[in-house]
Amino acid sequence: MAVISYIDAVTMALREEMKRDERVFVLGEDVGVRGGVFRATNGLIEDFGEDRVLDTPLAESAIVGVGIGAAAYGMRPVAEIQFADFIMPAVNQIISEAAKFRYRSNNDWHCPLVVRAPYGGGVHGALYHSQSVEAIFANVPGLKIVAPSTPYDVKGLLKAAIRDEDPVLFFEHKRCYRLIKGEVPEDDYTLPIGKADVKREGTDITVISYGLTLHFALQAAEELEKEGISAHVLDLRTLYPLDKEAIVEAASKTGKVLIIHEDNKEGGIGGEVSAIIAEECLFELDAPIKRLCGPDIPAMPYSPTLEKFYMLNPEKVKEAMRDLAEF
């Protein structure tokens, strides 16, 4: 099996799906000749032509809204939002429209649209090229939010998203794009949306995370192993609706839970994860449910000193994990 990068897994999934199903097409800013500002759509215009790899005008509400119309017609649009921070102008189309198409028409219409967007920081992206925006959408029934952490999951989940009959927001951590590599089968496979994944088995503490910070947790877990601390690590993968069963199972396993994400703490995904545990398996717990998250400031600043202050890293994660283990 080839070892490829996280972003190459994106491109691979797109290319395979476009080959498999001619209703699949890509639209967004600079996705064509430029191959995307991150190169996620690199080579697609050469293979599929400009009719299926559309450089759109600079207008996110139209990118999503036109995608919705095309999806309703029977196509499988994959819209790219250049940076997750720029999804805001499209919020009305996503929340009021895509998410409610099926429900409001009593199952007559539906909207199989994928919206891909790179999110997250650690790339000198400053306040507006670093944000985690998932929490905005994680209260919207009708939507699914996927945020994979490994190339293998990227491929399987992006393919699943494209084949899904409902709108899926697909958030790709931009720091993972070239940093994270992994084995990815050449064959066709999908992974189930809505299912979390145990990325490491352990017995002392449970860490629940997703995206870049999941890797920090895995790295920290490996180091803590040497100190005799065994961490169980759950990758949420789908952020909405959450995989409650897997969360309860993982929490119950060790009775000590640390939830980690890069997004701000208050109102982040971690709150809901914690609430599920506190509601479903409180008496399995041996420690308060801890959260290690980005500070509650508007976003990640540009200056390296400030960006570093914002970002989690394996050290900060290890410390929090050790503290919990020792609780």
């Binding site: 005008p57 809204g65 036109v66 919705i68 119309g69 196509m75 009305n92 409001r104 028409s105 009708g142």
Partner: protein, 336 residues
């Protein structure tokens, strides 16, 4: 309107077709009036009207091909959806929010149209979101090489939303078979034209998107039909979108929750009533000899009966079962 005889023949409309137009106009009006009565009697919670805009809507819809073209209408477009295939019963089922309502199974307010069968895209309340949808349909049809025109309509107030601009521009760039139909009824709820937009005409905005903009008397279904027909032909030929602005007047308050006396003079409304599109079209049909007082009475009675039956049926139809509220958040293979 010049009372030139048989203008419709010149436009390629048969006598039967214009009589159908008239039928739909009266049907829409009578359904709408009934809904107000039902609302005032406390039987239905809400009405939003097409009154005064029937000529624009029905003139426009007649230029489309049923079962082939797509419509993304707005909440006043009862005239449009009736022509595209919905029935009086469908309208009343929606007004009463009954399980059988084909638009939404009673989930949405009346005026939130939708029917896959009739190629009417499901609509919502936030105005103008349907505009990019129509563009997406136009894009998809063009990609698939299918002969489809996408029609979308909206009020003049809604033409100030960002989605109008973004959608129109996208369609212009890709030369898509989309018709943007603005029903300019002079008010956005209480806000009069001059506080909504400073341009002479909404149609002027088309130049900013590189396609034609046309102004038309929305009280004349034949004039509307004519400009729509031209727009449909342009679209079918691959010549791209058209923006049409139909000048109309909303004869009743914004909705059953509104009281329009606070923002417009009764005289203004009375004046507009003299130009009621249904009256005008009736005159035209009488002038051309297609309609007589007797025939008109017959038609009115037939429609009255249709409305009565639809009302009875809908009133007696069951509400959705409470627990069905949980259905259809996602498709099968749901994650929940």
């Amino acid at each position: 309107m010049l009372a030139a005889e048989n203008r419709h023949i010149e436009l390629g409309l048969s006598d039967e077709q214009v009589m159908d137009m008239y039928y739909y106009m009266v049907l829409a009006r009578k359904l709408d009036e009934r809904m107000w009565l039902l609302n005032r009697a406390g039987k239905i919670p809400f009405v939003i009207s097409c009154q005064g805009q029937e000529a624009a809507q029905i003139g426009a819809a007649f230029a489309l091909e049923k079962g082939k073209d797509y419509t993304c209408p707005y909440y006043r477009d009862m005239g449009v959806v009736l022509v595209m295939g919905m029935t009086a019963k469908d309208m009343m089922l929606s007004a009463f929010a009954k399980a059988e309502d084909p638009n939404s199974g009673g989930r949405q307010m009346p005026g939130h149209f939708g029917s896959k069968k009739h190629r009417i895209l499901t609509g919502s309340s936030p105005v103008t979101t349907q505009v990019p949808h129509a563009v997406g349909i136009g894009l998809a049809a063009k990609m698939r090489g299918e002969d489809v025109v996408a029609y979308t309509s909206f009020g003049e107030g809604s033409s100030n939303q960002g989605d109008f601009h973004e959608g129109a521009n996208f369609a212009g760039v890709h030369d898509l078979p989309v018709i943007f139909f603005c029903e300019n009824n002079k008010y956005a709820i209480s806000v009069p034209l001059k506080k909504q937009l400073a341009c002479e005409s909404v149609a002027d905005r088309a130049v900013g998107y590189g396609f034609p903009g046309v102004k038309v008397d929305g009280n004349d279904p034949l004039e509307v039909y004519k400009v729509m027909k031209e727009a449909v032909e342009r679209a079918r030929k691959g010549d791209g979108p058209t923006l049409i602005e139909a000048h109309t007047y909303r004869l009743v308050p914004h909705s059953s929750d509104d009281d329009d006396s606070s923002y417009r003079a009764r005289e203004e409304v009375e004046e507009a009533r003299k130009n009621d599109p249904i009256l005008r079209f009736r005159h035209y049909l009488m002038d051309t000899g297609l309609l007589t007082d007797e025939k008109d009475e017959d038609l009115q009675n037939r429609i009255q009966k249709e409305v009565d039956e639809a009302t009875d049926y809908a009133e007696n139809a069951p509400f959705p079962e409470p627990e069905t509220a949980l259905r259809y958040v996602y498709g099968s293979g749901e994650v929940k």
